[in-house]
Symmetry: D2
Subunit: 242 residues, 4 copies
């Protein structure tokens, strides 16, 4: 299992508060606990050539994590399209927090992915609504993120193929926080918690979810498909019917 | 209910065989039976200015029908994006046959929308798999399209929110032929049957499905949403927790 | 549209506090506002012969509302099975609040329908998560039930075919509060709000949801099905292949 | 992984033609290839005490396979209810062919599970419609069952949570042949192919599907749930609001 963690990596270099929480960048923090779980992990960032996703990086990635926030528009359409295509070919994609507005996620959803929000460090409670789901394993019914940015419904996404978590916020909102989508031969998991100035990726339950998600999103193998080909009849078609 | 029928309108002008079957164009044939069912119908075609979808045409359309085949790439990205945005705002979209590869449909699905195909005029049988569904009303369990182009699975779309029809083909394939998708505040119906040289849009069962689909896809009204706004807390958030 | 409102009708006759809020019974209150919306409404209660659902009552009911709480076990298996069968034939069913544990609902879901709960009169906020849905029409994004019994996740139901509302509770829980299920030719809507000592069915937003739900759950007509019949081949099957 | 294969085991003892194809019973044939795939397998049959599912058999079963046909009614309601409850607790269930009418499956679906049928040994082609799905791994796009009993749509089940296979039949019908359902903490897979006088369980593709299904249906672990408990508030609820 080869994981690539992609990060915009701007906040950390501009804002000392963010750098303090994530001295190796958000990608560094995520890569560290994924490595601890046994995955082979690389990182890639916006300001690298081709955003770090050139060459055969995507072709040799089983699951891609994506964190972006203030520079979604600086991701080239070409790279966004390449990520989308790789997902359709079978690569897993885990989209984090503000990545709801990233180009690859919006392309895969086909919707605006819009939502309401508030940033006052309120309490968030996540509830498991699919106890059977692999991404929920090892968790209790519910867990708390002590200080979070709020994201509120309606969240303009297609109905998830599987809904795993719903969030409660202190200020009165709810949100579909953990949502699975099957697209082509690939799997997409959107996970709401995460932020640049709250230390959410250091929290054990959040790490557990993301490790579970990497396992879940891994390619399952390939059914040989014949897309786009003219197909010969498998059964006799009488000429009289033509 | 204001319906706009969009047609690429190239086959009819180049190929006398097509013009014979659809002397007023495919859009003309579809518009005629929709008018007969009581809808207020306009048409629009690729070679008009802004593909006939400029001004307030889309803003004053409740349901848009879309037929394209050989010139998908000539539809401008701007118009494709406008159609997508209008669907998310609540406009219904009925995508016909080879429209599976059209820009608006691919944008809304987020997948390749690829499939396998064969064009030998074989028999197609459609089966209702959701007997409760409004789009199936007035039909029997099954009906036949005598001569059809085959489309075969796998069809690279997201799992439909509602699957209404599955097709059987004489040559051995099956296909998810009638599929409903909810996207934003809008509804999308993909319907497989249809062709430029088989007189499929003159068939009564096909017309019935498309009339039903126009009713189903109509906007349901609007819930007042607050997308993209910073939201004030609805409940007290204690400063001690911040 | 013929609606029948079924009520256990025990609380109202034992508890003066309930009788004060619902002097005509919960069924009477619900019947009144449904009549106001133009439906033809009858009521039926547990202690009538065959629970008021004998003769042709169910056969002449388009949508059945169901309220029960302390006497689910006193509903006969025969009547529960009859309700289930009628839903599969096309009758709509709207299940209210504590009806999550009623026999007809549990039979139709196939799951335990269990949940967690708390009864301290806390605030509930419902959020629309499917703005396109007919059941949400005429509402704002969110509305408040000032005093509610809490129901919490996980709610042991199959994944709803359409999820319309999610509830937030003051005490920290969330709940899938408005959920649609297609079963056979019938439609089922579960709606969480409601209680015997909080005047929830007098609240305008709740009434709006239930009027919308009655329209949504109405039978759509009938596709002629051939269940259980031995079918003749529609296509030639060569004897050589047998 | 502990698998139990349940068989009605009547055909094999009455009909020499069946005994010839399945000398160890259908359960014996299925148990053999599952053992070959590394599972620990037991069998159980209708005419054993408690249908072979007494004691702690179900409690120590991870995945249960179910084959029944002519004696569904002889399965006791108590055992059927026990199977249902164990699925809700997390046991996997793989329902085979005519098991669509078995008590455990009907209880879990909540619908009639009816269909149309024909038994003339016609050709069936299965098509993969979810190429990403674990149950489809190792297969081509399509495979043939040379002689099959036909099952036709509409199939009266809830919309599957995941649809993996659709069947084509020589005589003109289609069928949702491989369908996944999540119920409680358990997983249910219905697989259409199979018969007592056609040697379908000896076919390699069918065996591959059933081995994949056993892996897929295995319990994923347990989220600690608090069903049916009165819950204490997790957040302060002001007395003023009560």
């Amino acid at each position: 299992m080869r994981v690539t963690v992609w990060n915009e990596y701007r906040h950390e270099r501009k804002n000392p508060k963010v750098a303090e929480i994530y001295p190796e960048g958000i990608h560094g923090a995520i890569a560290a606990f994924l490595r601890g779980a046994g995955f082979k992990v690389r990182t890639a960032t916006l300001d690298e050539a081709e955003h770090g996703l050139g060459g055969d990086v995507l072709e040799t990635t089983d699951v891609l994590f994506w964190w972006g926030h203030i520079a979604h528009d600086e991701v080239s359409d070409e790279v966004a399209e390449r990520v989308q295509r790789r997902v359709l070919e079978g690569m897993g994609l885990v989209v984090l927090h503000s990545g709801h507005f990233s180009k690859p996620f919006k392309r895969l959803m086909g919707t605006s992915c819009d939502l309401s929000w508030r940033e006052i460090g309120e309490r968030e409670r996540l509830w498991v609504v699919a106890p059977h789901h692999p991404i929920a394993q090892g968790l209790d019914n519910t867990f708390v993120v002590p200080k979070a940015e709020m994201y509120g419904e309606p969240f303009d996404i297609p109905a998830p193929d599987e809904l795993v978590f719903i969030s409660w916020f202190q200020g009165g909102e709810v949100f579909r926080s953990g949502a699975c989508f099957y697209r082509g031969q690939g799997k997409v998991f959107y996970f709401r918690p995460g932020h640049e100035t709250f230390p959410i990726y250091h929290q054990s339950e959040v790490q557990r979810v993301l490790v579970n998600a990497a396992h879940w999103a891994a390619p399952t193998g390939r059914v040989k498909t014949q897309f786009g080909n003219r197909a010969e009849p498998l059964e006799p078609v009488k000429s009289s019917s033509q």
